[in-house]
C-alpha cells in the first residue's frame, strides 16, 4: 500500500518503527444497524462494541508489522482489508500509548478462540 506522491515526505523515518497503525475508510461498507450480530457470535451487540465495518463513521483500524518502505510504498504483514481500501492515516505504533493490559473483553471472551490464528509471532496471546 502507499500514499499519494504529495504525501511521500510524511513517511520520513517511519521505517524505524516495527509496527504501524493504519486507519482507513471502509469504503464498501453499507450503513448498518446500530446493533449487529458479529460472525463469531449469535447475539446482537452494539456496533461500537464490535469491529464491524458498517458503522456510523465507517473507519477501520489495523496494527500491522511494517516490513519495507520504498519511497511512498509500504509493505506490511497480514493486512486484512479489501484491495483499494482508501488509507486515511498512518501512525507509529508506540507501546507506551497503545499497549494495555485488559481485564475484560466482553462478549468476545467466549468467542475469542474463533479468531483467525495469529500469524504474527510477536503478538501477545492472552
Amino acid at each position: 500500500m502507499g500514499v499519494f506522491p504529495e504525501y511521500a515526505d510524511g513517511l520520513k523515518d517511519i521505517e524505524g518503527f516495527s509496527h504501524i497503525i493504519l486507519i482507513y475508510h471502509f469504503h464498501l461498507a453499507r450503513p448498518g444497524r446500530l446493533t449487529v450480530r458479529p460472525y463469531m457470535d449469535n447475539e446482537e451487540h452494539g456496533v461500537f462494541a464490535t469491529r464491524a465495518p458498517g458503522r456510523p463513521n465507517p473507519i477501520g483500524l489495523s496494527v500491522v508489522r511494517l516490513l519495507e518502505v520504498r519511497r511512498r510504498r509500504l509493505t506490511v504483514e497480514n493486512i486484512d482489508v479489501l484491495d483499494g481500501t482508501p488509507l486515511l492515516d498512518i501512525k507509529p505504533y508506540v507501546p507506551e500509548f497503545d499497549v494495555h493490559r485488559v481485564e475484560r473483553i466482553g462478549w468476545l471472551e467466549k468467542n475469542v478462540h474463533k479468531l483467525p490464528e495469529a500469524r504474527d509471532d510477536g503478538r501477545f496471546t492472552r
Copy 2:
C-alpha cells in the same frame, strides 16, 4: 464523553470491555507541514512517523480504560484531548488485534523516557 442520542443503541454491551479505542477529529489542528519536529525531539520526522495532530487527515486515536457507561455517556480514564473534540468512532480494544510486541520504535527510542508517566497501572512498560 458520549454519543449523540441517535447512536446510543450502538453502545450496547460496550461496558463489558475494560479498554476501548476512541477515534476522533483533531478539529482544532491546523494543517501542518509533512515533516514536523515533535515536542520531544530536536529533529524533523515525517508526520506519519509521529502522533502530531496536524496531519493530512487530522484523525486522532487513543486507547483508554472504560470506567463507566450510563446510557450514552462514557466515563474514561486519562483521555488527553481538548474538550469538545468530536468523537468519530468507538471500538473495543482487543488484545488479539491490538497488542503487538514491537522491536523498534524509531526516533522515539531515545525520547520515550520523556513521555508523561503512565498513570494506568495496566499499561505495559517496555
